[in-house]
């Protein structure tokens, strides 16, 4: 026997670990300590996703109440409270709902897509999660306590502003972890041109986030140190420094991950390689460029030709990637799976959002002489539609990568049902405000429809939460790829036999065998 051989006694030893002498079980970390102290990217991603779904539902509840208040001529709140809730609802939906939802999926999935056992800077990723969660709770409490932007309670208003700043820092930190994972944790052979579309799209999204969010954070900092009260925070910090995040071109950054999820899901549904791969990657890069909005913070900047160019450019990647995936779908026999239903509905809704941008450009070039429009309503509709497209795609991503994120696939039937329902909800939530904006009519009836749409979104967010934490479907195969057509690294059963020589190493292995 050599020195490296294992003794038979050890081989047959029971797997249960016994505490050694001097080890006290009481000193072992509790479940809570393991949760808080974990740097496991799947766990961090899961907590991000589950909490952001809860916050998304809460934001949609507030939205439903605000719309219901409008529909009932202010019988629920005063106009000041409604205005305050509307402002903070937008902050909440973006910083507590959609962005962390997308970043959570990325933290859980991107390392597996690029063949890395961990996310870059795992402790920073964990710090971003807990900072975000703590700040989110503080933000919600301050909004409830008549604070944050437009609030009447001085300390709660300032604390809400600080919480928004902390949310921004936390999301930037998470974005850095995702971007560095894609840039530096790839194995040999997996060049940037070979990473899966979602990983590439999150690299672009994260880069844009890091270059965009601090520009808004700067105004939050000034608002805090100038000791502004709630109304001053609303007029200077929010209106001058935060609300441009909800306007084009900045809000179009939500299109980028939509494109990534769309291209990945379609390739898997067909069980083949995505055609025009280089074009799709380039268009994702163009989407990133077109959504850089830190330069367009003021109303003056939002009426320039450069702004018009950026806003019009944002629609091009949607059309281009849409055409590329349609070609891929047309050349194969796509399997009808729930993620495909989600992304197929997300794309047209995103195109509506880009179309509203084009309308605003035309109206801006015409210096508002095209007609008598309610531009505030148009702007609200655009925010909701763009945000909604990202929500639909993100939910598709959760169902698509359910096995990677939650350890087991989410129920397919639930996914297929939720896809149609959420698309209906988003349409009802946003389109009525577009009609109000374009026709400049009385908004009561349309606001009631929008409230119904928001209520549907609440149900969908809670339904997805239930599907994620509820019992998993039985009788599924043991394969890592429940769809049977995954070609990228996250669908691999184990280590690959050979070097990576293409963007679809798992499909290469299947072809070879």
């Amino acid at each position: 026997m050599t020195m490296t051989d294992t003794s038979p006694a050890v081989e047959t030893a029971p797997a249960v670990e016994q505490p050694g002498p001097g080890i006290n079980r009481a000193t072992e970390p509790t479940a809570f300590e393991r949760l808080v102290g974990s740097g496991d990217h799947r766990l961090i991603g899961r907590v991000f996703i589950l909490c952001s779904l809860v916050f998304l539902a809460a934001g949609a509840v507030v939205s439903a109440l605000v719309d219901a208040n409008t529909a009932s001529d202010g019988s629920i709140f005063s106009s000041e409270v409604a205005q305050r809730l509307l402002m903070n609802e937008q902050v909440g939906l973006l910083l507590l709902g959609v962005l962390p939802l997308l970043l959570g999926i990325a933290i859980a999935v991107v390392p597996t897509q690029v063949g890395s056992p961990a996310v870059a800077f795992p402790r920073a990723a964990a710090a971003s999660l807990w900072t975000w969660l703590g700040s989110a709770l503080v933000f919600i409490v301050t909004v409830a306590a008549d604070g944050s932007y437009g609030g009447g309670h001085l300390k709660a208003a300032r604390l809400g502003n600080v919480a928004v700043g902390a949310l921004m820092v936390a999301l930037c930190l998470a974005a850095v972890c995702v971007a560095v994972t894609v840039l530096s944790l790839r194995p040999a052979g997996l060049g940037l041109d070979r990473v899966p579309f979602f990983a590439f799209s999150m690299l672009v999204t994260a880069s844009i986030l890091v270059l965009t969010i601090p520009a808004s954070l700067a105004h939050v900092v000034v608002g805090h140190i100038s000791r502004a009260d709630g109304s001053a925070l609303a007029t200077s910090t929010f209106s001058g420094g935060v609300d441009w995040l909800f306007q084009p071109p900045a809000v179009f950054m939500l299109f980028i991950p939509v494109l990534g999820i769309l291209a990945d899901v379609v390739a898997t549904a067909v069980g083949d390689r995505q055609r025009f791969r280089g074009l799709v990657l380039s268009l994702i890069g163009v989407a990133g460029l077109a959504s850089y909005g830190a330069w367009a913070q003021g109303t003056v900047a939002q009426s320039t030709l450069l702004w018009a160019g950026f806003v019009l450019l944002a629609g091009l990647p949607l059309l281009g990637v849409g055409a590329a995936v349609a070609d891929t779908l047309g050349r194969g026999k796509p399997k009808f799976m729930s993620p495909l239903a989600f992304v197929a509905l997300a794309l047209p809704i995103a195109l509506i959002g880009a179309g509203i941008g084009a309308f605003r450009v035309v109206n801006s070039i015409g210096k508002g002489t095209l007609g008598d429009f309610n531009l505030a309503a148009v702007s609200l509709a655009q925010f909701r539609v763009v945000l909604g497209a990202a929500v639909i795609a993100a939910l598709g991503g959760i169902f698509y990568w359910g096995r990677q994120i939650f350890g087991a696939s989410l129920p397919e039937a639930a996914g297929k049902g939720l896809a149609g329902v959420v698309a209906l909800g988003i349409a009802l939530w946003g389109i009525p405000w577009l009609v109000v904006g374009l026709s400049n009519t009385d908004s009561n009836a349309f606001a009631a429809i929008a409230a119904v749409g928001a209520a549907i979104i609440v149900l969908v967010a809670l339904g997805t939460l239930g599907a994620a934490v509820g019992p998993r479907r039985g009788g599924e195969s043991d394969s890592a790829d429940p769809w049977g057509g995954g070609g990228t690294l996250e669908w691999s059963d184990g280590p690959l036999a050979g070097p990576i020589e293409s963007a679809y190493p798992v499909l290469d292995g299947k072809d070879a065998s």
């Binding site: 026997m1 050599t2 020195m3 490296t4 870059a120 800077f121 920073a124 930037c172 974005a175 850095v176 971007a179 560095v180 840039l183 530096s184 944790l185 790839r186 194995p187 040999a188 994260a206 880069s207 890091v210 270059l211 965009t212 969010i213 601090p214 520009a215 954070l217 700067a218 105004h219 900092v221 000034v222 140190i225 100038s226 000791r227 830190a294």
Partner: protein, 194 residues
């Protein structure tokens, strides 16, 4: 009993991909730059709006800011000296260069504090919040750069950094250079064009 040996035909382990810290520092520097440039833009916009009455009750001397600029310029050379030295495993020079850089950074911190007392600008004045936001944000970035370089030097003392893994010093130097470059913008926008 025989002694096990590693067979020669086994492929060498693939070394971990480097530059993780460098990319992270690049993103942190980019985010910090956007923050400070936005603050500076807001400062210039407000100053333009107020006109000739801007800072009429206060005197901001140029001596200290210019000294700070040249101190940071020197520190850019010394921090690069640390990167150069660690890449050649000259550990003594690495520690010396890092120490000098940190001392120069602390000198700028000290001088900024002195400048604040000289200027005597109150937060209640209309210029106060933005003046302290711009210069304070840069001060915070300088503090972060000193901390980053200090931790990297301590890790080098512990043997974690070498010519094989020089990323820590390269990343700290990258952040330092961006911080010093941003000071030039602050110096020009706040102190020279006042």
């Amino acid at each position: 009993m025989s002694v096990a040996t590693i067979p020669a035909e086994l492929a060498p382990a693939i070394p971990p991909r480097r530059r993780q810290l460098l990319f992270g520092a690049g993103f942190a520097a980019a985010g910090s730059a956007v923050l400070i440039l936005t603050l500076l833009g807001a400062y210039l916009q407000q100053r333009h709006g107020v006109g000739p009455d801007w800072l009429k009750d206060n005197n901001i001397p140029l001596t200290q800011p210019t000294m700070q600029l040249f101190t940071l310029l020197m520190s850019m050379f010394t921090v690069q000296w640390a990167v150069h030295s660690i890449a050649r495993n000259q550990r003594g020079y690495t520690y010396l260069a890092s120490l000098i850089t940190i001392v120069l950074g602390l000198a700028v911190l000290n001088q900024t504090w002195f400048l604040y007392t000289e200027v005597g600008l109150a937060m209640t004045q209309p210029e106060g919040p933005l003046f302290y936001a711009v210069t304070g944000a840069h001060l915070a970035m300088l503090g972060a750069a000193i901390l980053f370089l200090g931790v990297t030097t301590l890790r080098a003392l512990g043997g974690e950094t070498s010519s094989f893994r020089p990323d820590g010093f390269s990343a700290a130097a990258l952040y330092w250079h961006v911080m010093a470059g941003l000071y030039f913008a602050v110096w020009l926008g706040v102190y020279v064009l006042k």
